[in-house]
């Protein structure tokens, strides 16, 4: 098998099967043993003929980023595809419709805008689609057939994959897709002279890999469901809506409750109500919705009620850029709300990590009776990766109520001061366990008190939980050179993939570099960072925000100057940008 690393973009209008073609390709490649990462883009506006781009990187080994530039552009719509040419690599390949129903006006054909050095392969997509299926809707499948013929993909395997995907759909739908694929495949083999060097070897493997092809929102939802989520309350907001839609479908099947609320305040209120009532509950939102929810962050921490909020960040502030990527909610996730309010913030770095992060979030929230914020972002929510079917969570993560002993009950102290900060907890229905929960400062029984001593002791108790959580946190991921290095990249959230990739490239170029990335932001792996910092001549902190929210945060753990790379492009962090910075400062 070759060391293939190919970025493919399929570009068309909404309704042309652009995204589904990307999905079919990703699924097939994953089945054949390749790793994939996709990051599609949809029209920002509501409907119509907006531009869609299915962007997929196919490679061997772990694919960490979707790649900034593409090797292949499949144009289902010329005008839209012209806009994707700037990200086509110097020797990129264009597959386009050379037989559209009518002539393009001058300069409205994508091939006309190719830079010299790029290779166009004209395929009569429309004509072949009509021939194979009777209409032009299957141009996407014709294009995939052409792609497969050009890149040496085993057609039988591909067709099997398409059939598996369509499963129980009507036979005529499957036929029209398969026939169109074959039409494109055969025509291309007969008529196109391949002059590029790309070729997939080893497709057609006898044993197909059965993997999930999912995005971060889906992985998060799956993790939460596996962790026994009972209630999800949500309000539609890009880019978190998908989680809500999954919950709406899946929770009732498990006897759980899904509620679409009137606003985000109501969402978090329902989560806290359910948490108080003893059920695992979660909500999902983005920055603007999190602003409303921050009304409740303090109550969850003060009344010690489990709650999980997923914040999938987008461009901000305010309504900002709903369909663009940014990592700029870190400050509000860490600090949103009044008072000293220790909460847990987990920011997974890859799609597959979202699953375990969701399990952990619900576990920690319940066991430590506190608020956990799962910080995703537009890129993580929408990027698609292949991953193994996850095994069910370890039972230790599932039932973690810290119940009172019988001895506790006669004089039940719900907010008993303990060494680890965790107090025994009853839930409604438990005889003799009744207590009063409040957002007011309170004594061990929950009674409101405002005295100096109680507030001090209770504040300390609430903060003490973090030591226990820190002991259970996922260790930071450290890659690159061992020992002393010139550049240490410290990264978080979805930028970590690009950081790891950049460090790998830098190392290959002879720069001594290493990468530290952490999913846990609060509590934070302080000692691990200090140890890492000691072996780095320079520290670079790349992140997708302007003010360096993460760099500012970690500054308190390492008193040293840091190089920063702050970008607000609205796009995922690219390894190319980090590598450039590494080379600048190395």
């Amino acid at each position: 098998m070759s060391d293939m690393d190919l970025v493919v973009e399929i570009c068309g209008s909404a309704g042309e099967g652009t995204i589904s073609a990307g999905e079919i390709l990703s699924r097939f490649m994953s089945e054949e043993g390749y790793d994939i990462m996709s990051f599609d883009s949809y029209p920002a506006e509501i409907r119509g003929f907006g531009k869609c781009v299915a962007h997929t990187r196919v490679g061997r080994g772990e694919v960490l980023t979707p790649g900034k530039y593409s090797d292949v552009l499949i144009a289902l719509n010329d005008i839209h595809a012209i806009g994707q040419l700037p990200v086509l690599k110097e020797k990129g390949i264009l597959i386009y419709d050379n037989k559209p129903p009518k002539y393009h006006l001058e300069d409205q054909s994508v091939v006309g805008w190719l830079e010299p050095g790029m290779i166009p392969y004209g395929i009569p997509l429309t004509e072949l689609s009509i021939k194979a299926s009777g209409n032009s809707k299957a141009r996407n499948m014709v294009a995939l057939g052409a792609f497969s013929a050009l890149f040496g993909i085993d057609k039988t395997s591909f067709i099997e994959s398409v059939k598996r995907r369509y499963g129980k759909k009507k036979q005529d739908i499957i036929d029209s897709n398969v026939n169109s694929f074959l039409e494109g495949y055969t025509w291309t083999l007969e008529h196109v002279r391949k002059i590029d060097p790309f070729r997939f070897d080893g497709t057609g493997a006898a044993v197909k890999r059965d993997q999930l092809i999912i995005n971060g929102n889906e992985a998060t939802a799956m993790g939460a469901l596996a962790a026994g989520l009972h209630l999800y309350a949500g309000y539609p907001i890009t880019p978190a809506t998908k989680i809500m839609e999954i919950m709406s479908k899946e929770l009732p099947k498990k006897g759980g409750i899904f509620l679409q609320t009137e606003d985000e305040i109501s969402s978090i209120a329902h989560v806290i109500g359910a948490g108080y009532a003893g059920k695992r509950a979660m909500t999902g939102t983005s920055g603007p919705g999190f602003c409303l929810m921050s009304e409740f962050t303090g109550l969850a921490v003060m009344a010690e009620v489990p709650a999980v909020i997923v914040d999938s960040q987008r461009g901000g502030p305010s309504t900002g850029m709903p369909t663009k990527h940014e990592q700029s909610d870190l400050n509000i996730a860490l600090n949103g709300g009044s008072g000293d309010c220790p909460r847990v913030v987990i920011a997974p770095t890859q799609v597959d990590e979202c699953y375990q992060a969701a399990v952990l979030a619900l576990y920690i929230a319940e066991k430590y009776q506190t608020l956990v914020i799962l910080l995703l972002d537009f890129f993580l929510s929408n990027s698609i990766k292949n991953m193994d079917h996850p095994s069910p969570p370890d039972p230790k993560y599932l039932n973690t109520h810290v119940l009172p002993d019988d001895g506790d009950l006669p004089d039940f102290k719900r907010y008993k001061i303990t060494d680890n900060g965790i107090s025994p907890r009853t839930i409604p229905g438990k005889t003799g366990g009744m207590f009063f929960a409040t957002g007011l400062e309170h004594d061990e029984r929950g009674k409101p008190v405002y005295d100096t001593k109680s507030h001090t002791l209770m504040t300390e108790k609430r903060h003490r939980k973090h030591a226990g959580i820190a002991a259970e946190m996922i260790a930071p991921h450290i890659t690159g050179c061992e020992g002393a290095v010139d550049i240490g990249v410290v990264s978080w959230g979805s930028s970590a993939g690009a950081a790891r990739e950049a460090v790998a490239h830098a190392t290959a170029k002879g720069i001594k570099a290493a990468c530290f990335s952490t999913q846990f932001i609060s509590p934070f792996p302080e000692q691990a960072l200090r140890d890492f910092s000691k072996r780095c001549k320079k520290i670079l902190v790349p992140e997708m925000n302007y003010s360096g929210q993460f760099a500012n945060m970690i500054a308190r753990y390492m008193e040293r100057p840091m190089e920063r790379l702050n970008m607000v492009t609205g796009l995922p962090m690219a390894s190319e940008d980090i590598l450039k910075k590494i080379e600048e400062i190395a």
Binding site: D107, G112, L114, E115, P120, G122, R193, I195
Partner: protein, 340 residues
Amino acid sequence: MPSNDHYVIIGNGPAGNHAADTLRENDGEARITILSQESVLYYYKHKLTEYIKGKTGEKELTVRPSHVYKDKRIRLRLGQEVERIDPLENRLYLKHMEIMSYTKLIIASGASPRILPSVSNFGKYLALLSSYTDVLNQLPEIRKNKRFLVLGGDLISFKFIRMLKDMGKDVDCLLYADAFWPFNLTTEMADAASESLRKSGVRVLSEDGLKAVKQTDQGFDVMTEKGHGAIYDSIYAFLGMVPNISFVLGSGIDTDRGILVDDHLKTNFDNVYAAGDCAQIYNPDIKSYWLSVGWKNASVQGEVAAMNFLGAGHVINPSPKKILNVEGFTVDTSWWEAFE
């Protein structure tokens, strides 16, 4: 004042590029577009054999990098074929279904491999190799295959055979002496060429022809008129070149074997010129048209066409006579030179 002129050149070889450069040097304003059927940059044809052998890299093969066109504000549209010309409306219909307008047009579309009627029945078994695109497409096969049959009907075939021998291949050559291109070989020439090829280990089949070709699992099963039978991995045909003018036919632009132009390289349309291998040029001395071949001719013609296009009134001169040595025989010619 910005010019509204759009000069379009069909062809990205020496004629087309020299024409484009000349136009830009003399007109800083007009839009200039080069259209090329091939999707590769302007390259040295004569280096292709060295490229196949792996002795020359892509960079050396390429005449100039793409930024040169950006610098000169020449738009290079590669991999785009003209389907037909409408000289009355000044429009080009491109094969990928785009309509393009021009104010002035230079056709420098070169020539493409010729298939002799005697072998046309076997067309689908024959590999042709005349461009960088052909090379890129066939390189893996050429490198992999061992047994070659070359239909030697032109000068390039000799070069190709040399290359194959250098690569350690087994080569048989069917020599088409009486249909040779660009001139028929005399008996002496044919003998000299055969001798030279034999010396380098090539089996030369003279005064013979293809009788039957069958595709089998082992390769192409070939039988000649004279009863020579063998199995080959590839059959390469080098049977000369013909002007590449199919897209001009029926447009109203006069053609014969090539595009007919006067000694100013102008066609029967005032704003359409032709240069290089595709042009058939009027020679007032012999009162007839001639076809020219070769890099240098094409370059000169490109420049002349461009100058005339801008109103200079230059006349194309037949090239001076040159002596050329090929495979042991000498050719004395004025109509072509430096063939590759």
